[in-house]
């Protein structure tokens, strides 16, 4: 259930559906996080107004991102941070490993960060012989298990307590225990040691404040605070869309993010970091490096519809609300960012050729849009990407898995015939005759073999659901009859 490819979303999903342990773990997701969120949004007045304001701030920032980035970089540098610009994943990873190499640093701790997942930083560092230790409990668990996160906020949501107990017993040599306190204290004991000896701490960033050059990181375990303050060197990897203009804007985002993500009014820790340790500070890093990473983001910025993808604050609410994610979990998406926002971001980051299934992995129910704290119209983005798949396949720019000659033929014929009412009506009559052999008790049950091969959608539908046959007389025929009677 690991390192799956987005190209095989359908297969991945089918396998996930057959995994009772996974589905049990996911069952809690909607009920726990979904319900907590519902309650949490009522603890602040005018939730809708907050969402509106957040989006306005994000739109304003994105419209002048170049300027805000420069202001941020200047102010952060003023406070003692060193700014690095990375065009893509390779550059970002290269900067980190170079910083480590120059300092001969081998003991590296790391806090949870989607940006570093996105660029596969750990793999890149491992290739250079460095093994950073993840210090977020969930992230550490999946690092021990050699897996990837299956959720943006709760990376090990797919694992049961039992599986974690077995993993700890195997990897840490502790006694098998179902007691959460025993498991967490074992983790704490080992991780504290790693913190104490660490030379460099690597983190992500939730918000970068342009007017002060401050970075803000939210968390609940205290591991971010340790990662960013104990080691002498702190490296923060940050997507360029994380900028907000003013410190006061945090008032809006700090109300929205914890409530949307985990249903908390506020996370246990909020670390605001402005440059390096000052003379008056008792602790803190002597070097702070902020890597501002593009990696496909300016491409998203360029188009008025896709631009809103960059408003995402990575809260994970859309994952929890998504009926598809609730069934198949995060790994099935075969991408760093799963769920509805993943289905939107991943194709834009790595191209549609390898991810063409993802925009279709949605019933377009709109639950994601309803919970999104920054009002991203995810269904609109999914439809936009679907159109790109279809048009890209036609023009040859999206290759090769997306070529669906049969589907294309069906939609072309449909548009042709259904623009002509007579053809549409005769088509219906012909279907009425053709369906007869498949009908039983006024419904079409499971169609197998030949018919299923001839009309694959009918096979797919009727494998689990009866199909409603075409009526003896269509509505328009009945309408005509009635008009004649008058």
């Amino acid at each position: 259930m690991n390192h799956l490819s987005a190209e095989t979303f359908d297969q991945n999903a089918r396998e996930a559906l057959l995994d009772p342990q996974l589905r049990g773990a996911l069952r809690n997701l909607a009920s726990v996080f979904g319900e907590r969120r519902k309650v949490a949004v009522t603890t602040v007045p005018d939730w809708e107004g907050l969402r509106e304001r957040a989006r306005v701030i994000k739109d304003e920032t994105l419209a002048h991102l170049d300027q805000y980035l420069e202001t941020f970089a200047d102010n952060a540098a003023q406070a003692g941070a060193q700014i690095h610009w990375a065009r893509d994943a390779a550059e970002a990873c290269g900067i980190v490993s170079e910083l480590l190499r120059e300092r001969n640093a081998t003991r590296v701790v790391k806090s949870k960060s989607m940006a570093t997942e996105e660029i596969h930083l750990n793999e890149a560092l491992e290739a250079a012989g460095l093994f950073p230790v993840e210090t977020d409990l969930g992230e550490w668990i999946i690092q021990l298990a050699h897996e990837t996160p299956s959720h943006i906020v709760v990376p090990a949501i797919h694992k049961s307590k039992r599986q974690i107990a077995e993993l700890f017993a195997e990897k840490l040599g502790i006694e098998l225990s179902d007691d959460v306190a025993v498991l967490t204290s074992a983790a704490r004991r080992i991780l504290r040691q790693r913190f104490a000896e660490a030379e460099v701490g690597i983190s992500g960033v939730n918000f970068g404040v342009a007017e002060t050059g401050t970075i803000l990181i939210l968390e609940n375990e205290g591991n971010v605070r340790l990662t960013t303050s104990l080691p002498k060197v702190h490296i923060a990897v940050m997507g360029i869309e994380k900028i907000i203009p003013r410190l006061i804007d945090l008032d809006v985002f700090l109300k929205l993010l914890p409530r949307s993500g985990t249903g908390q009014r506020l996370t246990a820790y909020q670390s605001l970091i402005t440059g390096t340790k000052r003379r008056s500070d008792e602790e803190g890093p002597e070097e702070v490096h902020i890597i501002l990473m593009d990696n496909g983001r300016s491409r998203m910025l360029a188009h008025p519809i896709t631009r809103q993808s960059l408003a995402c604050i990575r809260c994970g609410a859309c994952l929890n609300a998504c009926p598809v994610y609730q069934q198949v979990g995060g790994h099935a998406y075969g991408s760093v960012y799963p769920g509805p926002i993943g289905a939107v971001i991943t194709p834009q980051l790595i191209g549609l050729s390898k991810t063409a299934q993802l925009p279709y992995a949605s019933s377009l129910c709109g639950a994601c849009r309803e919970v999104c704290p920054v009002k991203i119209d995810i269904p609109e983005l999914l439809l936009h990407l679907r159109a790109e798949v279809v048009e890209g396949a036609a023009s040859g720019t999206v290759e090769p898995v997306t070529r669906k000659p049969l589907e294309r033929l069906i939609f072309r014929s449909y548009a042709f015939a259904w623009s002509r009412p007579r053809l549409y009506e005769w088509g219906g009559r012909v279907m009425r005759v053709l369906q007869r052999p498949a009908m039983r008790d006024g419904r079409i049950g499971k169609v197998g073999g030949f018919l299923s091969a001839l009309v694959p959608p009918l096979g797919a539908w009727t494998a689990w659901r009866d199909a409603r046959p075409l009526a003896h007389r269509s509505f328009r025929e009945q309408w005509r009859d009635q008009q004649k009677d008058h």
């Binding site: 009926p323 623009s419 419904r443 959608p457 539908w461």
Partner: protein, 242 residues
Amino acid sequence: MRVSLFITCLVDQLWPSIGTGTVEVLRRAGCEVVFDERQTCCGQPAYNTGYRTEARVLAKRFIEVFEDTSPDAVVSPSGSCTAMVHHFHQLFPDEEDWRRRAETLADRTHELGAFLVNVLGIDDVGASFRGRITWHDACHALRDLNVYDEPRRLISNVRNAEFVELANADSCCGFGGTFSVKYPEISVAILDNKIEAIEKAGVRAVVSGDASCLMQIGGRLTRRESKVRALHLAELLAAREP
């Protein structure tokens, strides 16, 4: 009020009793009902699958047909197809004239329940139906058109019927158009949560405002030999069970 029916292709071909029910209810509400036989489909299947060229052909045709009828309102027994008409303008980013025409048409196109309650101000159409019923919120009516209270008010006024809220009434049934056949296993896994809630509700019928959701839910109910019926709002409101 002169109302032009946008009956939808699904209702026309597969479930005409929803159409006759709609006519019945609208007439009872005092409307003059017209049906333009040139109509076929709004193009939503193409639009939602990414075939914008094809969707544009059908959308333009749709706009021409319904402009020509020039009714006071266009009414449809489908939240999803109504929402598609409201999305038409997105198909014409570079065609100012068509975009404007699409927006004008969208302004007077309504889903049946919302039309009765919000436009006509009627929440009792004199229906009667025996037994316990529950309501499933179709996603596009709920989230694209903001229809929530309207059907509940209409259902609560159906004589002899006992209305119970469905657990997670607002969660998707898993249909999703071509999603239902592209990813049938996921579609049905989502559906089975809905079915479980319906069976727990102990009802005679589950009512909704979209034939598509009802085919998804109903098709699974009959496959599982359930006694619960999938019933459209228009059928319920047209019912006059003694």
